[in-house]
Symmetry: C2
């Protein structure tokens, strides 16, 4: 197993002196992405100009890259497309689900969902103006909240703060039994843990690609639509690239077959080729192996930090099978402590109000780095570096 | 004047043997964009990792690049943001306008509007399900169609097929007099002709950046919201980057001030820096000069083609002040004729059903190239090259 990861770590650029435990926020640069973007820019955009849409296959990138992501989340070919942002894809999924359950007015989400999912839902429900209600419950109360008034559950499988893992299969089953649909946000799942949207019978799934998939800052999102719904789902954002025949330039919209209708505008070619190249790292790598190694890393990290840093309170589930590929701690001065860590080369991140978050990414992170990071965490905590004024000054992005 | 363009043409990469009259579809590669993307990928993504959001200023790119576009369209600082695709930005503009005119149910557009604008409107009206009607009239009938039932006019200033130019100021005035709002799509205007959204009193303006602004294939779009409406406009697609305090991670959405609320998801950093670098070409260049030179080029082109290619029927207004920066001809075998032209190095494009379209872009296109292109067009027409089977085979993208 370690041989696989010895090979994959060579595929990434990692700056000297950095211990990177934030691949769950932004994956590092895959060397292949830099090379691929350079050649796309110079040879394709520069050399082919407008012809690149055909000659370089730009027009099919959203589906081609989508299929590659599909293989990492148990989605059959032709059920995933890439493009836009996760916010937009959440909107499309929820709008479709509500359209398919016109008599139901409740959407269930939880307080561990990433805020943009909740915001997009709020905006959609406001626009629809049909008396829908977004019920946001505690993560552990989702199951009990599902009843026959519910049109859809909209959940992020892995809680972005705590790493708490929902049981996607069980909750989807519960939703279906009540006649509701299930929308899963895989932002912290795709590339982090084994996911099987087919086995879980998810109706829609969405995700971003700049975390565990290493697609680059602001990389395009993806959306999966169950083949069951392919011809029923409305795209809501009905752009020309989701039209049955975009280059007929018809005045009336006709949705393309299946998930293709979830494409919206002109695809972001440069960003998509960066992502495409980043996905090369997954060739020959199984998510089961990644998961096993991630648990090994995070269990050791958790045990060492708890033993050596009594100031930090575990915010993640203790059982590794109940959490994603991150470990979070609560600490009142977590923002400043994280700044001190970053200044010392250990990069994790902070999530308001008090969460220090560390991600485990076996593709390029090994046990040596994890243990070295723990040493630095211990130093920061022991020396109370969070008290220094230079670490208390807030940046725009935390 | 020619000195300016002698300087700007050096800023672009143009492949040998190509006469490029399709910058109105995809602008060529600015050399600075290639260099900037490479350094952003290697030094910022590669070297700074997640820190790049602060240290490299990624988080402000949508507004910073928006302001640079604003200067080309007469928009004050702080009224334009970039991101997403034009389709998404059309949706946001129209959703906001309809929200501001709740008692009116008619949206006016025209048959010369680009289909995705119409499709997005159709999708929005279907979602709203409040009895709105999208009235699509002939371009010359727009003015007469504006009455007190109209919530908004939604028009593309320059017709993508014919190049016909709407009178933005007059139609906006008419709309306002009737109590309606005006949404302008500047896809074929920004960087092509002088635009002044402030003087025209446009309520919303949107555009893409991969045409005359040379931002690259699938480059991010922009949206302008009049400062008058900044605090009233609803974003409709209410994502976390349009939140007043994105990193507070509040469960409830609160729109950011002004146009910032039109930001949606995580910004596409790599695409935005390509666009930012592309905009360098406009430093010290006035749109009046560009327009004067574009008219000079297109008038000569039009006269030569009409004199030498009687098979081609002018589809653009003859008066250069009535058209944008393109000249189009109708020809029954236009698709095959354009393929033959492209094979001979003259790149224009084809728009169904029968439009051959040629764009004029003084930043990198001179009179010598225009005249050489006319020679090739004459050859293709005289030799009836469109009859050859190899040119009749349809590509996916036309």
């Amino acid at each position: 197993m370690s041989d696989i990861f010895a090979r994959t770590r060579e595929l990434f650029h990692m700056p000297q002196g950095v211990l990177y435990l934030d691949g769950n926020s932004l994956g590092p640069l895959p060397k292949a992405a830099a090379a691929r973007v350079a050649s796309t820019i110079q040879e394709e955009w520069g050399g082919e100009l407008i012809r690149g849409w055909n000659t370089a296959g730009w027009i099919d990138l959203p589906s081609r890259v989508g299929d590659r992501i599909g293989r990492l989340i148990g989605a059959p070919a032709g059920t995933v497309v890439t493009g836009d942002t996760l916010s937009i894809k959440v909107y499309q999924a929820l709008a479709s689900a509500l359209d398919m359950r016109p008599d139901r007015k409740v959407v269930i989400s939880d307080s561990g969902n990433f805020p943009t999912d909740l915001y997009m839902a709020q905006g959609l429900l406001r626009s629809l103006d049909k008396g829908h209600e977004l019920k946001v419950v505690a993560p552990e109360d989702v199951e009990a909240a599902i009843d026959e008034t519910v049109a859809a559950i909209m959940l992020t499988e892995v809680d972005y703060r705590t790493g708490r893992l929902h049981d996607m299969k069980a909750l989807t089953e519960k939703a279906h039994a009540a006649g509701a649909l299930a929308i899963w946000d895989l932002a912290h799942s795709a590339g982090a843990i084994p996911v099987d949207v087919t086995a879980a019978r998810a109706d829609f799934a969405v995700g971003c690609t700049y975390k565990y998939l290493n697609g680059g800052p602001g990389a395009p999102a993806f959306i999966y639509v169950s083949p069951e719904h392919g011809e029923k789902a409305i795209p809501a954002l009905s752009g020309w690239m989701g039209h049955e025949a975009p280059f007929a330039f018809d005045p009336g919209y006709r949705p393309a077959a299946g998930v293709e209708r979830m494409r919206v505008g002109t695809p972001p070619v440069i960003a998509l080729v960066a992502l495409d190249a980043a996905l090369d790292a997954w060739e020959g790598v199984g998510l089961d192996e990644v998961r096993a190694r991630s648990i090994e890393l995070s269990e050791r990290f958790l045990a060492e930090v708890e033993a050596r840093c009594p100031q930090l309170q575990l915010a993640s589930p203790r059982d590794p099978l109940q959490r994603g590929s991150q470990v979070s701690f609560r600490f009142e001065d977590g923002y400043a402590a994280m700044q001190a860590l970053i200044a010392k080369g250990v990069i994790g991140d902070f999530r308001a109000p008090d969460i220090m978050r560390f991600g485990f990414t076996p593709l390029y992170l090994g046990m040596d780095e994890v243990l070295a990071a723990v040493d630095t965490i211990e130093n920061v905590m022991t020396d109370r570096l969070w008290d220094r004024p230079e670490y208390r000054k807030r940046s725009k992005v935390t």
